[in-house]
């Protein structure tokens, strides 16, 4: 069988996908917003592939009341290697695009999809870890809880809202840009 060669337009689209993937490193991927009667302006945890932003100290200060362990960038080893994985993926995509090798592209798409699912699982794992390992010494005892990866939750006086942010949407778009040409070229 002759090696399937991708068209030039596909190569361009895949290149765009690679650029989007690389650029997503500079945008927040995920966040959680805390709103309470005395915090109408909201407190934020904003997660980038390599750092945390937002009102981390204040949220840690408040979380100690329910016995949650404090978190910081050091708590999450992913933040130190995630940028390299994503960067590498972007470069591979670019190389494969111009090798115009369909099989390699399909392989990368599979890696991409698995990586994405692993990422979601990892996030969920941390949410379970922080929400359920509450200290027995806490002044306010609450039932262990798992904040959703996406959507609303209520803890004491706070309503939290988890959401995907710019970087995640860019990754979503990048993935879509990979599927699109594969779908178009499925008959070849």
């Amino acid at each position: 069988m002759k090696k399937a060669k991708l068209s030039v337009s596909t190569a361009i689209i895949v290149s765009c996908s690679a650029i989007l993937t690389g650029a997503s490193l500079f945008f927040p991927w995920w966040g959680m917003r805390f709103v309470a009667p005395q915090y109408p302006e909201g407190l934020d945890i904003i997660v980038y592939p390599n750092k945390l932003k937002g009102n981390i100290d204040i949220i840690n200060g408040l979380n100690h009341y329910i016995g949650m362990k404090p978190f910081s960038e050091e708590s999450f080893p992913e933040l130190s290697y995630l940028p390299y994985i994503i960067g590498a993926l972007a470069i591979f995509l670019l190389v494969v695009a111009w090798l115009r090798d369909k099989r390699l592209l399909v392989a990368l798409v599979v890696v991409f999809a698995i990586g994405g699912l692993l990422g979601l699982y990892d996030l969920h794992r941390w949410l379970v870890d922080f929400g359920t390992n509450l200290s027995d010494d806490a002044p306010i005892k609450i039932k262990p809880f798992v904040p959703p990866v996406l959507g609303e939750n209520r803890i004491a006086n706070f309503v939290t809202n988890s959401y995907f942010s710019t970087g995640a949407y860019m990754i979503g778009a990048a993935f879509f840009l990979l599927i699109l040409p594969l779908w178009k070229e499925r008959k070849r």
């Binding site: 009102n55 100290d57 204040i58 200060g61 408040l62 009341y65 002044p139």
Partner: protein
């Protein structure tokens, strides 16, 4: 055919016109949303979520404090301690404020003045003076806290200060009481020769946030009442009113009111500055002092109706207006005329070695509103119109400085001292609002017994003057400053200062260090605990020996808006505040053996009540 049409149309037109005249509604519309139709209640109501348009800083007089109000609501927002102790904020107990107060427990805060850039308020700093203990202070408006206080030698009671030059080059502190230089003992029989009314020129170093006396002027032994700096064409000049040019030494009520004329001191601070640079001064009590009878130039006297109070420069800087107090008239003087008279050396002799300008050659007009008595102080609006408080006839009179015409007047309750208009002493007043600072409230509010509050009244000056709000105020506003709210840029949390050796930003670093009989606590406050020694069995306990000198350096690591903690020790008579992110120090000698609970005084959280600890003082063996 054509004519028929014309007559038909014109007939129709006449009919429409007639019906319009008879049935048309030409009465003024009653729109519901324009400013003019607002009721007084709507004009002053600021609903939750909205903020006032202006900040009003009212001097707190002998409370030694500064009162911050919002305009138009006239809601009191905050009391800022300046010259007096204030346990609510720990002011006077923490090391910084204790040192600044220098052992004084009260002050008499008279005239607050904003820092200026090109004659406009820049919203960065506010200066204030203490008539009681001859001090000057500067507040940083990022935090609304006092940064520096200086004690001014050779002078006693800077009443008519502070006033600031157009670019905050100087703030001047003329004095109400004449005293001998160095406050030495001198017989009152030698009043005219040995006493002086010393005026101080103070500079502010913004970087170091320190006040500094640049030089002083040994003016004659008179009382200096109020003052204002020039603007635009008169920006290098300033004017100060005087009374007791009689040089009376007793019963001033009678004896300082004898002469028909007192003076306005007109001086050029650029010239005085030059004289100091050229070494034309004597050193007295460590200060560079200019003696006007020896070092001539730069200072002139303008005769004015006796015992004037306010003297205010018009926004265009062309005129200065003296308020008669005892004389029922306002005198409008011209800077241009004064400059010409000085140039032509058109003097009517000298007094105490200072040249006197002729009244007629400087005066532009006398304004005498009918039955208006006791003019004290003048403010201006956006059109340059003048508003003068009448203490005795209890009213505010609006008049035109260009023509002397009286335009409007409104009664106030009762006896206004000063008034303050929106940015009313800058080169571009805003108009809109004027607050009358009334000395008497009498029956205005619910009675609280014989001691009464003072009263502030908000007057809408956008059209015909009308009092639209009244608010009681603690003793005692003398003067105020009203600034557009968006000019003031505050911070909510102190920035981290990693170079501060007393600060602890990580709770694990909290520690207690002993050096001989000194104990240094480097602690933190957070919702809802103190940590003085992170490694101790009980991190919220300070244990010392009787007689130890204890320094508690406390950092509030809750870097969150409005989470202020307090730190008080039972029976040790001390309490300090740590604002979000701030590091503060309190120092005391543990001279009482025993057990003393420590607690957070500023309500911080649901577990505020639990935010406690102990000071254990081991008795001497």
């Amino acid at each position: 055919m054509k004519k028929k049409w014309i007559s038909a149309i014109s007939g129709l037109a006449v009919g429409v016109l007639a019906s319009a005249v008879f049935f048309g509604d030409f009465s003024p519309k009653q729109p519901t949303s324009t400013a003019s139709a607002k009721t007084n209640a709507e004009k002053v109501y600021v609903p939750f979520g909205k903020k006032d348009e202006y900040y009003l800083f009212a001097s707190g007089g002998h409370s030694g404090q500064l009162f911050v109000y919002g305009v138009p609501s006239l809601r009191r927002i905050r009391t800022v301690p300046v010259f007096s102790l204030d346990s609510a904020t720990g002011y006077g107990w923490d090391e910084h404020s204790k040192k600044m107060l220098g052992g004084y427990t009260w002050g008499d805060l008279h005239h607050p003045a904003f820092s200026e850039t090109n004659g406009e308020y820049d919203g960065k700093y506010l200066f204030a003076t203490d008539v009681a203990n001859s001090r000057a202070a500067v507040l940083d408006l990022k935090t609304f806290t006092v940064k520096d206080i200086i004690s001014v030698p050779n002078t006693s009671g800077p009443h008519c200060a502070a006033f600031v030059t157009e670019n905050t080059e100087y703030l001047f502190l003329p004095t109400r009481f004449a005293v001998p230089l160095g406050n030495k003992y001198e017989s009152l029989d030698d009043y005219s020769t040995k006493y002086r009314g010393v005026m101080s020129a103070v500079t502010f170093d913004e970087k170091a946030q320190k006040l500094h006396i640049a030089y002083q002027v040994a003016l004659p032994p008179w009382s200096y009442d109020l003052s204002d700096a020039g603007k635009k064409i008169s920006k290098d000049w300033a004017v100060v009113t005087t009374y007791n040019t009689e040089e009376a030494t007793t019963n001033l009520e009678i004896n300082a009111s004898k002469e028909d004329r007192d003076f306005i001191v007109l001086f050029n601070w650029k010239e005085l500055e030059k004289m100091v640079k050229e070494g034309k001064y004597d050193i007295v009590d460590g200060q560079k002092v200019i003696f006007p009878e020896k070092q001539k130039g730069g200072i002139y006297l303008v005769p004015v109706a006796k015992s004037p109070h306010g003297v205010d420069v018009t926004p265009d800087g062309k005129r200065f207006i003296a308020s008669g107090k005892l004389a029922p008239l306002l005198t409008v003087f011209s800077f241009e005329k004064a400059f010409k008279a000085i140039e032509n050396k058109d003097f009517a002799g000298e007094r105490n070695g200072i040249p006197i300008l002729r009244y007629e050659s400087v005066m532009e007009r006398e304004v005498n509103p009918e039955n208006a008595l006791g003019p004290l102080h003048t403010q201006f609006d956006d059109k340059g119109m003048a508003y003068t408080t009448m203490f005795i006839s209890s009213e505010v009179v609006k008049w035109d400085p260009n023509t002397g015409e009286v335009l409007d007047r409104v009664p106030v309750q009762y006896s206004p001292g000063h008034s303050v208009a929106a940015e009313g002493d800058t080169v571009s007043p805003d108009g809109k609002y004027l607050v009358s600072l009334n000395k008497l409230a009498k029956d205005s509010y619910l009675s609280v017994g014989p001691s009464h509050p003072e009263s502030m009244q908000l007057i809408d000056i956008s059209g015909k003057m009308e009092v639209i709000q009244s608010a009681p105020v603690d003793p005692e506003p003398h003067y105020g400053q009203m600034i557009k709210a968006d000019k003031i840029k505050t911070i909510n949390v102190y920035p981290k200062d990693e170079s501060n050796p007393d600060a602890v930003y990580n709770q694990k670093d909290a520690r207690i260090v002993r050096k001989g009989n000194e104990v240094h606590v480097y602690g933190i406050a957070m919702r809802s605990k103190f940590i003085f020694d992170a490694k101790a069995k009980r991190p919220d306990v300070i244990e010392v020996n009787e007689g130890d000198k204890v320094f508690v350096h406390l950092t509030n690591i809750d870097r969150d808006e409005d989470i202020t903690h307090g730190f008080a020790i039972n029976r040790y008579n001390l309490n300090i505040e740590v604002q979000p992110g701030q590091t503060n120090t309190v120092e005391f000698v543990a001279d009482k053996a025993g057990t003393y609970p420590i607690y957070c005084t500023n309500f911080c959280s649901a577990l505020h009540q639990e935010m406690t600890g102990y000071l254990l003082v081991k008795p001497k063996q």
